[in-house]
């Protein structure tokens, strides 16, 4: 059942409200800008599709157009943060942090200055643009960097809250955003704290079979799978791990201990991504069987988001299948 403490929207299964997570960024960054005049936004010729244009309208004097130059965007922002600003840099995740990774490593992460790298169009659900524009390696690139916080919001509302929260951290951070409209699951009342995972589906009083950990908009598919499994008499929990780094070890370990088997869900390569982060933690603290739902060492292709999520087995039936598979592996 849906965890009542998560205060999710009532309509998440029947006709949920839809918005892209990047729209949540667009709103959140304007609110962050109102709260703190040190907030500035830079874009590399992608103001509208990153939703940075909302900030541009609200605070034209704090919006900086750098042209198609992601390396320059990261390093100009590093200089601004070094001075005392709180820059958000916006582009597609394949270009930033894809193209400008070394600049982010040296001038933001080693330098330890509070630039927030916002990678839009993450995942195969970018759709028709095809493999070149579908970022599937960005979590791996960014979570490998010391000093870097990594946040992957599940919906527009959580993205709005996360943007406001990250602006206050005063640390280097990466935020991952999607292009496609996806269900809005959380509400204004849903708790959000960077580094604190939220259990969104629980099974009080029942024997727990599997703990599902999901990040990003695929959380909705994990919830659909949980409901389907409940109907089949299989009890799971679903935890929304919006902060991939630092991981909420306490919540993750307690769920894994209780269930004894884990499924991770992410719209990203299995290698080095969110599931890998969970596996690294569990391998050290409490080894259990894990199944990984995500991209298995391949690039995407053109198609509709729905076709691609199905094709690459990140839809609800694939999560159900992964749960059954991991149950069979339990010793």
């Amino acid at each position: 059942m849906i965890n009542p403490d998560a205060k999710l929207a009532a309509n998440i299964f029947e006709k949920p409200d839809m918005a892209s997570t990047r729209e949540g960024f667009g709103k959140g960054v304007v609110e962050a800008g109102k709260a703190d005049e040190r907030v500035v936004v830079l874009t590399a010729d992608l103001a509208e599709s990153t939703q940075a244009h909302h900030f541009q309208k609200a605070f034209p004097e704090r919006f900086i157009q750098v042209g198609v130059a992601e390396q320059n965007m990261a390093t100009v922002a590093a200089g601004m943060a070094n001075y005392g600003k709180i820059p958000f840099i916006t582009s597609y995740a394949t270009f930033s942090p894809g193209r400008n990774w070394e600049q982010i490593r040296t001038t933001i992460a080693i330098n330890n200055v509070p630039v927030v790298v916002c990678g839009m169009h993450a995942g195969v659900s970018v759709g028709p643009d095809g493999a070149t524009h579908q970022a599937l390696e960005d979590i791996a690139l960014m979570r490998a960097l010391p000093n870097m916080i990594v946040v992957s919001p599940c919906d527009a509302e959580e993205g709005r809250k996360a943007t406001i929260a990250v602006a206050k951290l005063g640390k280097p951070a990466y935020m991952r955003w999607g292009r496609e409209k996806t269900p809005i699951m959380t509400t204004n009342e849903t708790p959000f704290e960077v580094g604190k995972a939220n259990v969104v589906w629980s099974c009080q009083g029942q024997t727990l079979a599997v703990a599902i950990f999901a990040t990003g908009p695929l959380l909705h598919n994990a919830l659909l799978a949980a409901r389907e499994l409940e109907g089949q008499g299989i009890n799971v929990t679903v935890t929304n791990v919006h902060t991939i780094k630092p991981l909420d070890k306490e919540t993750i370990l307690s769920r894994a201990r209780e269930a004894g088997a884990v499924v991770t869900v992410e719209e990203h390569q299995i290698s080095g991504g969110f599931g890998s982060a969970i596996a690294e933690l569990l391998a050290q603290e409490f080894p259990v069987p894990i199944e990984f739902v995500g991209m298995h060492d391949q690039f995407g292709q053109s198609g509709t988001p729905k076709e691609l999520i199905q094709h690459y087995k990140m839809d609800a039936p694939s999560i159900v299948e992964a749960v059954k598979k991991v149950i069979a592996r339990k010793v």
């Binding site: 500035v40 004097e61 704090r62 900086i64 750098v66 042209g67 130059a69 390396q71 320059n72 390093t75 100009v76 922002a77 590093a78 200089g79 601004m80 943060a81 070094n82 001075y83 005392g84 600003k85 820059p87 070394e102 600049q103 040296t106 001038t107 080693i110 330098n111 330890n112």
Partner: protein
């Protein structure tokens, strides 16, 4: 600023050679690091820290200080040595360069040593950091100046030209770039590795004010830095023509000394075990000329 007297010029030249001596000693003690660039930039760093920059060695975080970003982090020995001679820390600490636990990292890190301003090493990202810093400072009406020292070799990096475009577009008049035009890089002479000229025309085309100076003529460099402060239309770049290895005639202009310390360099002219000693002797002799 008042022109320098002959006496002041002599004092600065003597200081620059003392800094060169420290550079040779610290590199020899480290057993690795870059020699040619730091020796070549000693006159300019002396001019910066003893005449041009507004700064306070006792208060490296002084909010009104001018900021000096070093883009080509590998010549950081010249910065460390000059800072030590200027009073930021004891000169003896220079001998910890590149050693475990030292504040003097092989390439400079902002959080390790006060006054370093930014982390650098990978080439081509200093000019854009300095541009971002200058842009942010101007937003707040701050009056300090941002300087960026960079190499000629890193003009091969695309990021450098992205920054040149940015600073030109936004007319960052509070930014002075200083290019060490010493014509060498690790693999050879710049014009063989990847031709860079005409650098003046390129920067002018990117909407910069360009001044060319002899990088070993201290009064000329100081005059150029003063001129940059008076330019109100565009950012300024001082292209400083320098001699790599300056002060040690045997290695001057020899690109093979880009990335080796005394004791580990080419041995066709000076045996390895004599390199430090010969460098110091040649330096002393050239100081007397």
């Amino acid at each position: 600023m008042q022109p320098l007297t002959d006496e002041e010029i002599r004092e600065l030249s003597t200081k620059a050679n003392a800094i060169r001596r420290t550079i040779i000693e610290m590199l020899a003690a480290a057993g690795s690091g870059h020699t040619a660039g730091p020796l070549g930039m000693a006159d300019i760093f002396t001019a910066l820290y003893f005449r041009v920059l507004k700064h306070d060695p006792q208060n490296p975080a002084w909010p009104e200080r001018d900021r000096l970003m070093l883009s080509n982090g590998h010549i950081t020995p010249v910065r460390y040595a000059t800072m030590a001679h200027a009073g930021y820390f004891p000169v003896e600490e220079c001998l910890t360069l590149r050693k475990f636990g030292s504040r003097l990292q092989g390439h400079p890190e902002r959080e390790k040593l006060p006054g370093i301003e930014t982390t650098s090493g990978p080439l081509g990202s200093g000019l854009s950091q300095a541009s971002g810093y200058a842009y942010a400072a101007r937003m707040d009406g701050r009056t300090f100046r941002v300087f960026c020292a960079m190499s000629d070799g890193e003009q091969e990096e695309g990021n450098t030209w992205e920054a040149a475009m940015f600073a030109g577009k936004y007319r960052l008049t509070n930014l002075t770039a200083i290019m060490d035009r010493n014509n060498i890089q690790i693999d050879g002479n710049t014009e063989d590795v990847m031709p860079l000229e005409p650098l003046r025309d390129k920067y002018e085309a990117f909407n910069w004010h360009v001044i060319e100076v002899d990088g070993h003529n201290i009064p000329q460099f100081i005059a150029a830095a003063d001129e940059a402060r008076s330019i109100r239309e565009k950012p300024t770049i001082i292209i400083a023509h320098t001699t790599p290895g300056k002060g040690v005639p045997t290695i001057e202009n020899d690109y093979r000394w880009h990335g080796n310390p005394p004791g580990k360099g080419p041995t066709d002219k000076i045996p390895a075990d004599k390199q430090k000693e010969v460098f110091l002797q040649e330096l002393e002799a050239s100081g007397k000329k």
